[in-house]
């Protein structure tokens, strides 16, 4: 069988691999990658040995901050981030669900004090029956990740 590269290699930048199928589009939206000047190559529903199907996102000349990586972990806890330089993987790390997220999302509770005051939001994360729950440090309400991310 002829093997064919389904997503083109990049010279420099970041490759987010092993994204659960269907989550890639959410990550593009959440990190506002389409609004940036970066060149992006994406693959949706690609075959994956471990996952059956996966999404992949390659962003040229762009690194991710810790906060962005944390947001990624919320949607794609199984993803890996590959830092590419001159077509080589120079750094590679697996995403893991963080214990907390600071300043990444607004609190869905419209009466939470964080909407009116000079503080970052702060959520603690926990898994519950396969879902991720985020609990606001301030208003103490718990939300599913989809509600927090308004997806």
């Amino acid at each position: 069988m002829r093997k064919k590269l389904q997503v083109e290699a990049i010279r420099q930048g970041t490759v987010i691999d092993h994204i659960p199928a269907g989550q890639g589009i959410k990550i593009l939206d959440r990190l506002q990658l389409l609004d940036s000047n970066a060149s992006i190559t994406v693959g949706f529903n690609l075959p994956s040995k471990d996952q059956g199907h996966k999404d992949i996102i390659k962003v040229t000349n762009r690194m991710f901050s810790e906060q962005e990586a944390n947001q990624l972990a919320l949607f794609a806890p199984t993803a890996t981030i590959n830092v590419i330089d001159n077509y080589e993987v120079v750094d590679k790390f697996k995403m893991a669900l963080p214990e907390s997220l600071q300043g990444a999302f607004s609190c869905p509770n419209s009466n939470c004090i964080t909407h009116n005051e000079p503080v970052d939001t702060h959520f603690s994360l926990r898994e519950h029956k396969g879902d991720v729950r985020l609990k606001c440090r301030y208003c103490e309400k718990s939300f599913s990740k989809d509600i927090v991310a308004e997806l």
Binding site: N111, C112, I113, R133, Y138
Partner: protein
């Protein structure tokens, strides 16, 4: 007993472990039996009610005065700089620099936690929106312990609006430390929220749902009543629902001798006035106990040794 509450912020009942709760209850019992007008001598306490609440404010202010402290503050945020657009963070920063402790009530959830990050003195939450009201929970626990002589292994029924009732949520969470068993009696639309039930599941706490106060009364030690608010239903639906969640003398005919009825007050018509004269009624003592519970908290937060 070591005072683990000295200089601590009192924001949420979730911040208390069993030892902390017992310390407050023990101190409240001591202060109820032997008044100590010296414990806040020379201390200035801010009582800042950005939202009006007569009972809670008067209870706090009585507690401060009974311990010999001095009060500054306001009973309504309408005349403060908040109205001019000052952030709560700035208000807290300034007012706390004048005082030894900062008691506050605010209509927004999370305001007390935020205040604790900007205050130079301990913050005591007197209610932040629909979130927490830890001193209400402490007075509820104190009252339960007082009328049952124990807190461990009690059977508690919560009745009424269990969805929006923050007092019910906090009390259920606090009672988890004492191995309670719960029965929830509420209209479907106002049943206990999932996140509380999940917490109870995780802690292995037993709970049941029931539709009838009368059938539940013989099985429990405490009935904690709350008000079903009219505005949550249309009029016909409300009339139908409210009649099922009203406690009257007939509902108590097979009750256990030690049963006591609590209510965070104010009551409207969910407890018939005739119940007041029965030995089961404990809600007025409960309200009075608010002063002792708040005295205990203030005394512990501001004194290394009480």
């Amino acid at each position: 007993m070591e005072n683990r509450l000295y200089k601590r912020d009192i924001i949420s009942i979730a911040d208390f472990d069993r030892n902390d709760l017992e310390l407050v209850l023990e101190t409240a019992a001591q202060l109820k039996n032997s008044p100590r007008p010296d414990l806040l001598k020379g201390k200035v306490i801010a009582s800042c009610f950005f939202e009006a609440s007569t009972r809670t404010r008067l209870s706090f202010e009585t507690a401060v005065q009974r311990l010999g402290g001095t009060l500054i503050g306001f009973s309504d945020g309408g005349n403060t700089s908040a109205k001019k657009g000052e952030t709560l963070a700035d208000s807290v920063n300034i007012i706390s620099s004048y005082t030894d402790a900062f008691v506050m009530r605010h209509p927004q959830e999370g305001s007390a936690r935020l205040a604790s990050e900007f205050s130079s003195v301990p913050v005591i939450n007197g209610g932040d929106g629909s979130n927490q009201h830890p001193t209400q929970t402490l007075l509820d626990l104190f009252s339960i312990r007082e009328c049952q002589d124990k807190l461990d292994g009690l059977k508690i029924a919560f009745v009424g609006d269990l969805k929006y009732g923050r007092t019910v949520h906090s009390l259920a969470q606090a009672l988890c430390h004492f191995g309670a068993e719960f029965t929830f009696i509420a209209p479907k639309a106002l049943t206990m929220p999932d996140y509380i039930l999940e917490e109870l599941d995780e802690k292995g706490i037993k709970y049941h749902f029931s539709d009838s106060i009368e059938e539940t009364a013989p099985k429990v030690d405490i009935i904690y009543m709350t008000r079903v608010q009219k505005e949550r239903f249309d009029e016909t639906e409300y009339k139908h629902i409210a009649s099922r969640y009203i406690l009257n003398v007939d509902s108590l005919k097979d009750a256990k001798d030690n049963l006591k009825i609590l209510h965070p007050l104010p009551r409207v018509d969910e407890i018939a006035v005739e119940v007041d004269k029965t030995p089961y009624a404990y809600y007025f003592q409960q309200a009075e106990n608010g002063v002792y519970a708040r005295q205990a908290l203030l005394a512990l937060v501001l004194n290394e040794v009480v």
